[in-house]
C-alpha cells in the first residue's frame, strides 16, 4: 500500500471524523436515533478502514487480538454491572431509577449512558475480531 498516496492521505483525514461521528451517535443515543450498537459499528468501521489501507500487522500493533478478546466480555460485564448495581441499590435488575437517589430521571440518563457504553465496547470489539479472523485466514 506504499504507493496509494491519495488513499493514505484521505483515510488519515477521514478516520478522526469517523470516530468523532461514532461518539456523536453514541452520546446522542438517549435523545434521538443512535446508540451503542450503531456507534460500535462506526468505531469498528474506522479501524477496518485503517487496516485496509495500512495492513493487518499495523492495526494489530494498535489493538492486539488478545486485547479484543478481553474487551468483548468486558462490554457485557459493564452492561450486567449496571444491573448488579441496581440490585445492590435495592431495585429490580436494570432499574435505572435507583442510580440517582434524588432525581429518577437523572438515574435513567446515567443508566442508559453506562449500558450503551457497554454495548459500544462489545459491538466494536466483536466486529473488529470478526474482521481479524477473516483477514487473517491463510496466513
Amino acid at each position: 500500500m506504499r504507493s496509494h498516496l491519495i488513499l493514505r492521505v484521505v483515510s488519515k483525514l477521514l478516520i478522526p471524523f469517523l470516530l468523532l461521528f461514532a461518539l456523536y451517535v453514541q452520546f446522542h443515543g438517549d435523545f434521538g436515533p443512535g446508540g451503542g450498537f450503531q456507534a460500535g459499528v462506526i468505531v469498528a468501521a474506522a479501524f477496518v478502514l485503517y487496516a485496509l489501507i495500512f495492513g493487518l500487522k499495523t492495526i494489530q500493533k494498535v489493538i492486539p487480538p488478545a486485547l479484543l478478546e478481553v474487551l468483548v466480555p468486558m462490554g457485557v460485564l459493564i452492561y450486567a454491572g449496571v444491573g448488579v448495581a441496581t440490585w445492590i441499590l435495592g431495585g429490580n435488575f436494570l432499574d435505572y431509577n435507583m442510580l440517582d437517589s434524588h432525581d429518577p430521571s437523572h438515574g435513567q440518563h446515567l443508566g442508559i449512558l453506562l449500558v450503551e457504553a457497554g454495548v459500544l465496547v462489545t459491538v466494536a470489539s466483536t466486529m473488529l475480531l470478526i474482521f481479524y479472523t477473516f483477514a487473517g485466514r491463510g496466513r
Binding site: E69, V70, V72, P73, M74, V76, L77, A80, G83, V84, W87, G91, N92, F93, L94, D95, Y96, N97
Partner: protein
Amino acid sequence: MLDQFPAIIVAAPLIASAICAIVRHERTCWLIALLVSFLCFFGSASMLGQIQDYGTISYQMGGWAPPAGIEYRVDLLAIYLLILVSFIATAVLVYGRQSVSAEIKDGIRGWYYTMYLLCLCGLMGIIITGDAFNAFVFMEISSLSMYTLIALGKDRRALAAAYQYLILGTIGATMYVIGIGLLYTITGTLNLVDLGERLPPLLDTSAAIAGMAFIVVGLSLKIALFPLHLWLPNAYAFAPTVTTAFIAATATKVSIYLLIRYLYSVFGFAFSVEQTPIPELVLVLSVLAIFAGSLTAIFQENVKRMLAYSSVAQIGYITLGIAIANATGLTGSLVHIFNHAVMKGALFMLIGGIALQIGTVRISDMAGLGKQMPLTMFGFVLGGFSLLGVPGTVGFVSKWYLAVGALENGWWWLVVLLMLSSLLVLVYMGRVIEVAFFRERPVGAPVLKDPPKAMIITSWVFILACIYLGFDTSFTVGVAEQAVSVLVGER
C-alpha cells in the same frame, strides 16, 4: 433476595460467562460454571414452593410495568421446565470435567464453559420471559452458543453438523420472528399474556392465521419434529458428549415448552384444538416420527447416532400429547419432557464414559464390554428398560398417561401403535446389549475399566432417578397436572 430470583437465574449465567471468557483457565471456569448452574437450580427450586403457595410470580425487568415493559413470568409450567434445565445443566457439569478434557482441544476449554453458560442463560431466558420478542432474543443466544458447543469437538464432522444446524435453526428462528411480527401488527403488543387477551376477537383475520402458521412451523424446526428433524442426528452424534448430554436433555424441550405456550395460552386451547387442523397434523407427524425415528435407529452403527434417532422418536411421544389435546394426554406430554430428559441424559452420559475408555462409539467396538465395564453397561440396560417403558421406570409413567389420554379420545388404535413402537426400542437397544454382554472381547484388545468416579456416579444418579421417578411421581406428574389444569382452563 428471594424476589430477585427470576432475574438472577438469567443474569447470573450471563455474567459468569463473561467472567469465564476473561479468565479462560479450565479448572476455574468449570468451577464458576458449576456454582452458577447450581445457583440457578437452587433459585428455581426455591421459587417452586412460592408459586404453589402464592401463585404466578411476575417480575418487572428494569422496573417497567407490563405490557409495555418486559415481564418475567414464572408460573407452574415455567418453573417445571426451569428446574429441569438448571438441574440437567448442573449434573452434566459435575459429570463432564474429564469428558471435556478428553474431547475438547487444550486452550479452548475456557471458551467451551463460556458457551455452556451462555446457552444456559438463553434456555432459562426463553422459559421465564413473558415477552414474545424477548423469547426470540434468548432463542438466538441459546442457539448460537449451541452451534459453537457442537462445533468445538475434535471430530471434524462436528463442524458440518453445526453448520447444518445453524442454517436450519436460523430458518426456524426467522419464521418465529415473522410470526411475532404479524401478531404485533394486529395487536400492538408483545407481552404473551396481553397477546392472549387481545387475540381472540382477531383470530379470524388472515394475519393471525399466518402468524400462527409461521410460529408453529418455526418452532417445529427447533423441536426437530419429523420431518424437520434433519439437523438433529448429526448434531447429536458428532458433538462432544457433554454437549450432547446437555442439549439432548434441554434444547428441544424448551422449544416444545414454547410451542405449548403459544398453542394453549396465546392462541387459546379452544381455538388451537377445535378450529385449526394442528392437532390432526401433529398427530400424523408424531406417529411418523416415532416409527421413522425408531426404525432408522435400528440400522445405526454409531451408538450416539442411534440414540439421536431415538430422540427423534421420543420427541414424537412428547408432541403426541399435544395432538391428543386432553388433560391426560397433555400431562403425559409434560411428564415425558422431564422423563425423556432424565433417561436420555443418563444414556448419553454412559456413552460418554465408553467413548472416554475405548475411544469410539461404534457398536462393533463394544463387544464384551459387559464384563469389563459392568457399572456402565448395567446402567445402559436399565436406561434401555426406561426407554422401552417397562413398568417401574419413568418411561412407563409417561406412556401410561399418553395411552390413557388416547383412550379418552377413543383412539384405541393409537394405543396399539404405542405398544408396537416399544418393540422397536427393544430391537435397537437390544442390539447394543447383545453385543456388550453376549460377545467375547476380541483377543488382544486392551483390558478396560469403568470410567472415572465422577462420571459413573452422575450417570447412575440419573439412572436411579429413572427408577425413582417411575415410582414416586409426586413431582413430575403432580406439577404437570397442576400446570395442565391452568393451560386447559385458560380460554
